[in-house]
């Protein structure tokens, strides 16, 4: 069994966990981050990536609204390469209550969110694909933020500051003695066990936090709420479009990189189903019909995938019943609640307040460890956002490579583009043609960004996230994985198989039209031409 000595174990590699790792490491605290799957594979990677202006909370929850707008401003400074400043609109449809519009304006003013009413003509100029039948519109400083980039940058920063990152590793037992935490044992995917000795454990495992607590023999009931989203295969809107009415299903369309997302729904699911949830057909219908009401073009577009994420909702102070469920930030010191020193749980909140959540958690942890240094994550830019320069100028520097390729890589990695486009021939070879991912980028991700399989690779580079959903690039990606030392030649076929199955999960619910054609084509190539499942048959003797 391997052994690590450290100060703090962070369980959970979502935005919050990665953010805590970064924050603590900046204050000189030694940490190990343990994540059972890949970074950003939980709720972090399954939301619509909205950089809130806070306007959504301006009417009912002023505190959250203020938190949002202030974090919005901070993230624009430190993580600009993960953010797109699209701006947002709140529009009222003929069937909505027109009074909500003024309530929203009031609430924004009160919370300090710069919301401005504009004419319908101006709104249509801003967003030509908008439903021309809207009654009113206002602009808000919404934006979009890419959760994968964000988490990867935090993780990269933490790693560069000495944090040990263990992905695909599961905590199997929590060690304590005399009412305090002494460490944890974790098992990696290949079966190897590691014993980690630490003074504190931060439970940042999102909705799996309930399981983590039970390892420490603590009851922390969570109330998972499934939220589903539909992805349209190209960008139908340039600005975030919100429906101006009290929050309900299907009232937002968010543009994200090369696609648009229609969201969301909200369905409670039992805890034992959190790893086994799917999107229902009626949810798809709701999303499509509501999306059409905001942008009529949705009717003619291709639904690329549909997926859902689980919101980790906890009772306010960790109460047992579900009455006071909070969507706000919940930070629990288990010394106070359960008498166990050294364990804290951070939950709730939203993607864009991750830094604040990390700050609050790190403050608590440092107080307990006796570390005096203050948080500076709001001041120091993330890797990739180091110095600001426009994409236009960058693109000109790499002549000979198509602008669309350079531009896409720049979008994904910001300043770190220099590490990728180094001038070797292979850096220009396109592996994923839909999202313009080059071989150089894949090599960089495999070697530097904690990538263990193709699904991880997809999160770091967007390979397989375009219209083809891996049709051509999956095979290439698998082959390169082995060439760059990430796996054995036989293992690369397993990666390929798993990746295609993972993509299929999101394609199945929307299998019609061009999506069905694409899947038929993909099936013909991988099963008809390549005979992929026959290779597995040889190995596993399924007979």
């Amino acid at each position: 069994m391997g052994r690590i000595e450290t100060d703090v174990i962070i369980i959970g590699g979502g935005a919050t966990g990665a953010g805590i790792a970064r924050d603590l490491s900046m204050r000189g605290v030694k940490c190990v981050l343990v994540e059972k799957n890949d970074i950003a594979s939980g709720a972090t990677g399954r939301n619509h990536g909205l950089l809130h202006s806070g306007a959504r909370y301006a009417v009912k929850d002023h505190e959250s609204a203020q938190e949002c707008i202030s974090e919005n401003r901070i993230l624009r400074k430190i993580a600009w390469h993960c953010i797109e400043d699209t701006g947002g609109l709140f529009v009222t449809l003929p069937e909505d209550d027109p009074s909500y519009h003024s309530q929203l304006l009031e609430g924004c003013k009160y919370a300090g969110i710069p919301a401005k009413e504009i004419s319908i003509r101006k709104a249509l100029q801003l967003e030509p694909n908008l439903n021309p039948g809207i009654l009113s519109a206002m602009t808000v400083p919404d934006g979009t933020i890419d959760p994968f980039r964000l988490t990867a940058s935090n993780m990269l920063d933490a790693k560069e500051r000495g944090v040990v990152i263990l992905t695909h590793t599961r905590v199997t037992s929590i060690l304590k003695s005399n009412g305090r935490i002494t460490g944890a044992i974790c098992t990696s995917k290949d079966g190897g066990e590691t014993e980690i000795h630490a003074r504190m454990i931060v439970n940042a495992a999102g909705v799996w936090g309930q399981e983590v607590c039970s390892l420490a023999e603590i009851k922390l009931p969570m109330f998972p709420s499934k939220g589903s989203m539909l992805i349209i295969d190209y960008r139908v809107n340039g600005v975030v479009i919100n429906r101006c009415r009290p929050p309900a299903d299907g009232d937002i369309i968010v543009p994200g990189d090369t696609v648009s997302l229609i969201g969301t729904t909200s369905r409670e699911i039992p805890y034992d189903k959190i790893d086994d949830y799917t999107i229902d057909d009626d949810e798809i219908d709701v999303l499509l019909s509501d999306g059409e009401k905001l942008i009529p073009n949705v009717k003619n577009t291709r639904a690329l995938r549909a997926y859902c994420g689980v919101r980790p909702l906890v009772a306010v102070s960790g109460e047992m019943d579900g009455r006071n469920i909070s969507r706000g930030i919940v930070l629990i010191d288990h010394k106070e609640r359960d008498g166990l020193e050294g364990l804290v749980t951070i939950s709730g909140g939203k993607l864009m307040t991750y830094r604040l959540m990390a700050e609050k958690t790190s403050d608590l942890v440092c107080r307990k460890l006796g570390v005096k240094k203050k948080c500076s994550t709001h001041k120091v830019p993330l890797p990739g956002s180091e110095s600001r320069f426009s994409s236009g100028r960058t693109v000109k520097k790499f002549s000979g490579i198509p602008d669309s390729v350079v531009g896409s890589t720049f979008y994904r990695h910001g300043q770190r583009l220099r590490n990728i486009m180094t001038g070797e021939k292979k850096n220009y070879r396109l592996i994923c043609e839909c999202e313009m991912v080059t071989e150089g980028e894949i090599e960089y991700a495999i070697k530097k960004l904690e990538v263990k399989d193709l699904v991880d690779l997809r999160r770091r580079t967007r390979i397989g996230m375009g219209p083809c959903q891996g049709e051509l690039c999956a095979y290439r990606g698998a082959g390169l994985f082995h060439e760059y030392g990430g796996t054995t030649p036989e293992g690369s076929v397993d990666l390929l198989y798993d990746f295609l199955e993972e993509r299929w999960k999101g394609i199945r619910p929307v299998l019609w039209g061009d999506g069905l054609r694409e899947s038929e084509f993909t099936y013909w190539i991988y099963q008809g031409l390549f005979g992929l499942s026959h290779i597995n048959d040889n190995k596993k003797k399924k007979g």
């Binding site: 057909d281 292979k426 390929l496 019609w512 290779i535």
Partner: protein, 431 residues
């Protein structure tokens, strides 16, 4: 002008039907909406590869004879074993007129190797994929060099070799891996925008590069007696090129089909088209048929949708060989399956959740692969109201009742049904 036979769809089924009709003197035209799926095929013809529970079939004709009575809805049952045999012989002979040799292992299926290293059964293959000489080499267990081209991203030799080793056929074979460098690669420097199989095929077709290529192959292969390359030693004159390379290197050359575009498939496509033209057939490319006018159970004409004004085409007989979803022969709406030109009765579940299986690589395959147009024993379909259309025939993957991937029967169904429809039309016209 009225044609004798209008074939909608220029794929394997459409062209087979077209060649047969044209050589019997019928005024035939093939209308193709876009390029066909031969462009992504393995370049081999699958007749019957797998049983219902997934075991490999050794002798396809025996298997078909045994199972025909139990599968009345299957296109093979409708075509009948004699027609299947005749159509394959017909296919082999017409292709050999165009310089493509298709080999088979007598009554047995033979195996071909796939890019990631699977071994699949098939019935007819081109000579660089299966030949008696090749069979002997593999049997003898000598070294095989699995080579790739530097800079070609659509093939990974180590993967092939590692997985082949797990198969009983190759478990004692020693594999050598290597890379060869091509002249083109050196010139392109940064501009490797797209280095596809077709680009490489063109390099091979350039006479003066061959000695250099042969050198590279010989060097990389070392003392191996056989060399496998990803498939692109030329499209039009590949037999010549292969012969030259084999004599220059002294090694047996084997081809493995990889990601599209499929050079092996392109060779068949080009040969079929040349054969069709040489028999006097007419071909319209890039035209999509949008509708048809039917009267009293007979198709009178079809309309093309290409021009701003559509063009009407009249014929005595029509063959619908428009392919499945990929080629647009069948369309899947949000909750229904349609055949878009004639609105024919299709076999396809009403519930979308029943179109697919839970896992992508499910052993049961996916139901939508067997969806298609329902026809009677003569390959005549029905309109949506249930009326049989006597002068319309259906062939190829637009048909219902079979799963080309699961069964390993895509090529066989296309050729035999295309041929059978042609026979029917010729007979009717003789009357």
């Amino acid at each position: 002008m009225v044609y004798d036979c209008v074939i909608i769809g220029g794929g394997l089924a459409g062209l087979t039907c077209g060649i047969k009709c044209a050589e019997e003197g019928l005024r035939t035209v093939v209308i193709s909406g876009g390029m066909n799926s031969l462009h992504f095929s393995s370049g081999s013809i699958d007749l019957a590869g797998f049983t219902d529970n997934g075991s490999i079939i050794k002798k396809p004709f025996d298997y078909l004879k045994k199972t025909a009575s139990g599968k009345k809805g299957h296109p093979y049952a409708k075509a009948g074993l004699p027609a299947i045999k005749k159509s394959l012989d017909f296919f082999i002979s017409r292709l050999s007129e165009e310089g493509i040799t298709l080999n088979n292992n007598g009554d047995y299926n033979h195996f071909h190797v796939t890019a990631p290293g699977a071994v699949k059964p098939t019935y007819l293959s081109q000579e660089s994929v299966y030949s008696p000489a090749g069979k002997d080499i593999i049997k003898s267990g000598g070294k095989i060099a699995v080579l790739n081209f530097k800079g070609f991203r659509d093939y990974y030799p180590e993967q092939t070799a590692a997985n082949l080793k797990k198969h009983p056929l190759f478990k004692n074979t020693e594999f050598i891996m290597g890379d060869i460098s091509l002249p083109y690669y050196l010139h392109t420097e940064k501009n490797l925008h797209e280095f596809r199989s077709t680009d490489i095929a063109r390099i091979f077709e350039t006479e003066r590069y061959l000695p250099r290529i042969a050198d590279e192959i010989a060097k990389a292969a070392g003392d191996a007696g056989a060399v496998s390359l990803p498939a692109f030693i030329g499209i039009s004159n590949y037999r010549e090129i292969r012969r030259k390379l084999e004599s220059m290197t002294g090694k047996f050359i084997y081809e493995i089909p990889t990601l599209p575009p499929s050079i092996l498939g392109l060779r068949i496509d080009s040969a079929l088209k040349n054969c069709f033209f040489s028999k006097g057939g007419e071909y319209i490319a890039g035209e999509k048929i949008v509708s048809a006018s039917t009267n009293k159970g007979t198709v009178e004409s079809i309309m093309t949708g290409n021009r701003s004004t559509s063009s009407e085409i009249k014929s005595r007989y029509f063959v619908l060989a428009s392919g499945s979803f990929f080629s647009g022969g069948l369309q899947a709406g949000v909750s229904e399956i349609k055949e878009p030109i004639f609105n024919l009765k299709v076999q396809g579940d009403k519930k979308r959740s029943k179109w697919y299986s839970h896992d992508f690589f499910d052993r049961k395959s996916h139901p939508f692969l067997s969806f298609g147009v329902e026809t009677d024993r003569n390959f005549n379909p029905c309109s949506e109201e249930g009326k049989t259309i006597k002068n319309l025939f259906c062939a190829g993957s637009v048909l219902s009742g079979y799963d080309p991937v699961k069964e390993g029967s895509g090529g066989g169904v296309a050729i035999s049904t295309g041929y059978k429809c042609a026979e029917r039309i010729i007979r009717e016209l003789e009357k």
